[in-house]
Symmetry: C2
């Protein structure tokens, strides 16, 4: 097991300059965050009413009315606050900070004397606190509030929300634990575990780590806590299901069916799974717990080897927003929730910090440049919850297997977990670019940025340039005033077959280790590392056990997955074939696609007469003929920005 | 519009001798009917309890207890009785007839003084009769009881159940109708319409036809009857849905959203649709109503041109057991209910009687030899409710999109509409073989049989021989004692590209009309018509708008659709390709397949190493190599008779 310590990059000292991810971060800061604030305050008539802030006002006694929304509505506010916190590191915004301060004050007012805080229970069922962990998300909401407190403190130095979080965590610590008079339970939706480890890192309070460990280890033990509390509640449920609620019947949904040490596959609700594993991986490192580490390695492996989409998405099915089984990756009925890919990036980050292996960054990059980047519209005001890999709008409305799928991004959702999660992910992307350890600075993502960090007491300053992932060259320039002896470990992406690096113009020939090129040196101002990552257009094929991909090919260039869209290629994308030997040409995008690279290649289309009288089945020959068609591929993350239409990632090849 | 009169074949005078359909009829008679009687009486511990007979016992006061089952549980008993009736035409069975007589006596005892009969309402809600047509199936159950009464009378001459049916119909006729004090409604599940037309044919009571017409014409008119009765009930529902019930929100589900004359596509619950249309087509002919006829033609056309599976199944989705939209025909998530294909045969029969066009018989044959024949196991005791065209058992249990699908036939169902429906269909198959009209005797199906019928006052006796659909020659021999001048119209199946016919050894050269070869002659004993229907193995391709079939081929021989099954071809059927030019060889089946013809052809399989460590995605080339494999195709109807495994109809072609 590798060492315990990883230094987190202070986001005040990291400026994303990247034309793709940086522009998205700017979009989040300048459009999405203000937009979401309007929605959370129910001031946007186009969006589904949120009521999330109003719930706090009512709970604080500042307004009258009833609680509205899901039991976890509070978490939307917390995630938004976290996004605000990280955005303030990038750009001061006194007006936004004032709004956040006032919101924090409101939240603090809502907190009960004993530290409890949850507007649903305060308003609806104050006596039923902690009585339905399986269904009611109290610890989940607490976790998000704690994360927001940590972020706001790190971003602004203001302790108000951090203290609210600590009081809440302290309260939780009295309610839950191994003592006889404590609850031996754990939340239906993991989050508290990863939040407590974050809180520990800021407060150095061991109790928080112990409590997180307790939650992780308690999970899945028998007799099942959810059954015990259900009987204690006299079998009452939050959801009127007319029987044993879903969370009790399907404990795997909450990763509560088995102790983690006994789990063999990624299972259940995909977001719950990655949130839990993020906490477990963090804990495993901080407490140097090898059993937990083995659990992380094992379940990660199953997930990325058998259950992940090419887009870095997880969760093959709508039922339970869940994993399905090994090699079941349907393209059109995929759930592939935005939050699941965000959670996957969080999990990958913690795995990287523990294992320092490029494979974790490969997955992180795949999720970032595809599902996560695609989950927000170019306008910053529309979001995908579900991220299908194939879209046929006409059928979508007619067949119930697509009830969960939307052909375009939406202004908001009844369950609005994704939009603020997307905002906080982009606002905090600086946490994913580097992993700073005593032995080396690992460069995980080639998102252009300027950064300053403390290495052995000295300030290391770097400028990462390039136009990733459009161009294949990345330059890292050292800008520190004083020489610093350290190792720079450059990730060599799995998608790149022939990477090359040079230092001050001289080719570097050392062997990569665990997917990173390690360059040890006393770094001086003006040193320049150039990394060449040739971005051939590559064809991707699924492992033959994946029946959804048989006979099909996907196109990637660099970390980007490409797709065909109706607006460029016409309808009936199922009638399009790419030649097995077609060459691709790169095309500079224009208009909405300015700055992006599109691809073109020759294919064929099955042309047929659109006849009202045509029979459904035809003997002996396909009714139509193949005709050449030049196909235009766009980066998949940018689909559905030009209205509704067909889309395909996996296309026929012949 | 063609003439009004069609003579129904008296099933006493038709003996099915066919080695395939006849054997299945025998299986129904000797195994399924006794088996189902045990289940309906809850004497089979392996089957889900039915309680259907017990409900009648309780309602009659012969037993104590509560009603159990669906609101339409009575219909299972009625359909079983109808199957018994037709089976008694084929083979006397005093013991079975006695059981049926006793059951009929029990049913008669249950009937209320005013003619009302429905054990759910009698036992559970006697004051709520006719208050929830949308959800409660009262007229549906009444219809099935009426059909059973008609059948039992036709089969045995006994009037007891027919009278029960008439009293029930008379009661319905007082409750429903255009008068101010009558209900202007119609049932959520059509069936009464087709039953009343049947009852009219036996009783010649015009009122029944008028009432059926009323139900048909009332449907879909505004204000919607279902909304009116909902308000009358003070918004109470049969199903605890916590809101407006499904049937009110989705009126198209019950074909109640629009008057039929305004409907353009087959829509909603597939069984409801074909049951309704069966009644409408029958009415349109009997009352010579051209608007209703146009509705039938239009909706039939949409259904068979855009929404029917190659297996003669309808209903592309589980949600609402319903049609989806034009050209949406998923193979693995198909609903394709057995009852829907049975209803489709009923609808086709009535269309044939009205239109005398071979296209209706083509669809009837397709449904019979594929979905309907496949819905019952070789053992007669297991049934499919849902009939997928592709099966991957491993995924089935993991992904919620397959919740409705079973990999094997089941002993019974909680909603057990299919098993007794399958039984009555095979028992009454004689009604589908011929359409007897004054202008001609139309031979629709080449199910071997001996029949006697009255033609212009004389007895026409025919013997149809052959070994259809295994062999390509059918012989029809005239066995009548006296010469009879009439037209014999032989259907030329759409699947046959070069049919040939001869009369007493001389080739017949007349042009077919509407899919039938019309042979007019004074028929004499010893006349022999031979029909040669060459059964090349044929490749079938979907119309290119059907995206589920792109790049795929299905194999047919005669009316039979073939498939690959795992037991013959190994797992991962998605990795199998059939060459575009492979020749097929015919193989005589053995064991379970004795008497059946299997097909073989050369294909290829993508062979790959089954590695624990294999990556999910591979660059540049498919990880595996194509290797030759001899593929074995079985008639699809016989799949899943050798345990659970993968199955595919539509396979890759290269």
């Amino acid at each position: 097991m590798s060492e315990r310590n990883v230094a987190e990059i202070d986001l005040h000292n990291l400026h994303v300059l990247d034309p793709l991810i940086g522009k998205c971060q700017q979009l989040v800061r300048e459009v999405a965050i203000p937009y979401q604030w309007e929605v959370l305050n129910d001031r946007n008539p186009e969006a589904i009413p949120s009521h999330a802030v109003e719930n706090f006002r009512i709970a604080a006694g500042d307004a009258r009315g009833e609680f509205h929304g899901t039991v976890f509505q509070d978490s939307d506010v917390a995630k938004w606050l976290e996004a605000v916190a990280w955005s303030l590191c990038q750009a001061p915004n006194p007006e936004l900070e004032k709004a956040a301060d006032e919101l924090i004050e409101l939240i603090a007012t809502t907190q009960c004397g004993d530290g409890y805080l949850n507007t649903y229970f305060i308003l609806n069922a104050p006596r039923e606190r902690w009585s339905n962990l399986a269904e009611c998300h109290e610890l989940y909401c607490a976790g998000h509030l704690i994360e927001a407190g940590v972020a706001f403190f790190q971003a602004t130095g203001k302790r108000r929300l951090l203290e609210v979080g600590c009081r809440l965590a302290d309260h939780v610590d009295t309610v839950f634990g191994p003592a006889r008079d404590q609850l031996h339970g754990y939340d239906g939706h993991p989050e508290i575990e990863l939040a407590l480890t974050r809180l520990y890192e800021v407060t150095h309070e061991q109790r928080y780590l112990t409590l997180a460990h307790f939650f992780v280890e308690q999970r899945g033990s028998e007799p099942h806590f959810y059954d015990i509390e259900y009987e204690k509640r006299r079998q009452s449920c939050a959801t009127e299901s007319g029987g044993l609620p879903w969370m009790l019947r399907n404990k795997a949904y909450s990763q509560a069916h088995l102790p983690l040490s006994k789990q063999r596959t990624a299972t259940g609700h995909a977001v719950r799974f990655v949130y839990l594993m993020t906490g477990v991986a963090h804990l495993a490192r901080l407490r140097q717990n090898d059993q937990q580490r083995q659990t992380c390695l094992r379940l990660w492996q199953n997930m990325v080897q058998r259950q992940i989409y090419i887009t870095g998405a997880i969760g093959s099915q709508s039922a339970g927003e869940a994993f399905s089984c090994d090699y079941d990756l349907p393209n059109d009925t995929a759930y592939a929730e935005s939050c699941a890919s965000i959670g996957l990036m969080m999990f990958a980050r913690r795995m990287l910090e523990m294992e320092l292996d490029g494979q974790y960054a490969d997955v992180m990059e795949r999720a970032l440049y595809n599902t996560v980047l695609g989950s927000i519209a170019f306008d910053g005001r529309h979001y995908f919850y579900v991220n299908p890999l194939e879209m046929h709008p006409k059928t979508l409305r007619a067949n119930g297997i697509y009830n969960h799928v939307s052909p375009v991004r939406r202004p908001w959702f009844g369950c609005a977990c994704c939009p603020p999660n997307i905002a906080r992910l982009f606002a905090s992307i600086g946490h994913y670019i580097y992993t700073l350890r005593a032995d080396a600075l690992y460069v995980n993502l080639y998102v252009g940025n300027r950064v300053e960090m403390s290495v052995g007491g000295a300030k290391l300053r770097l400028l990462m340039n390039g136009d990733y992932p459009w161009k294949d060259e990345v330059e890292i320039a050292v800008e520190s005033a004083l020489p610093i002896s350290h190792t720079l470990a450059l990730r060599l992406p799995q998608w790149c077959s022939a990477p090359a690096a040079s230092l001050n113009g001289e080719r570097i020939n050392c062997e990569p280790r665990n997917g990173y090129l390690h360059i040890h040196r006393t770094w001086r101002q003006g040193d320049r590392v150039k990394l060449l990552l040739p971005m051939q257009v590559r064809r991707v094929y699924g492992y033959p056990q994946v029946r959804n991909l048989a006979g099909k090919v996907a196109i990637e260039r660099g970390p980007l997955v490409y797709c065909l869209e109706e607006v460029d290629n016409g309808t009936e994308l199922h009638n399009v074939w790419l030649h097995a030997d077609s060459q691709f040409s790169l095309v500079d995008g224009t208009g909405l696609f300015k700055g992006k690279i599109l691809l073109q290649a020759e294919g064929v289309r099955l042309q047929h007469t659109q006849s009202e009288e045509a029979a459904l089945y035809h003997y002996d020959k396909v009714p139509g003929q193949l005709e050449p068609q030049r196909l235009t591929f766009i980066p998949w993350f940018s689909w559905a920005n030009r209205g509704e239409g067909e889309m395909r990632i996996w296309i026929n090849e012949r």
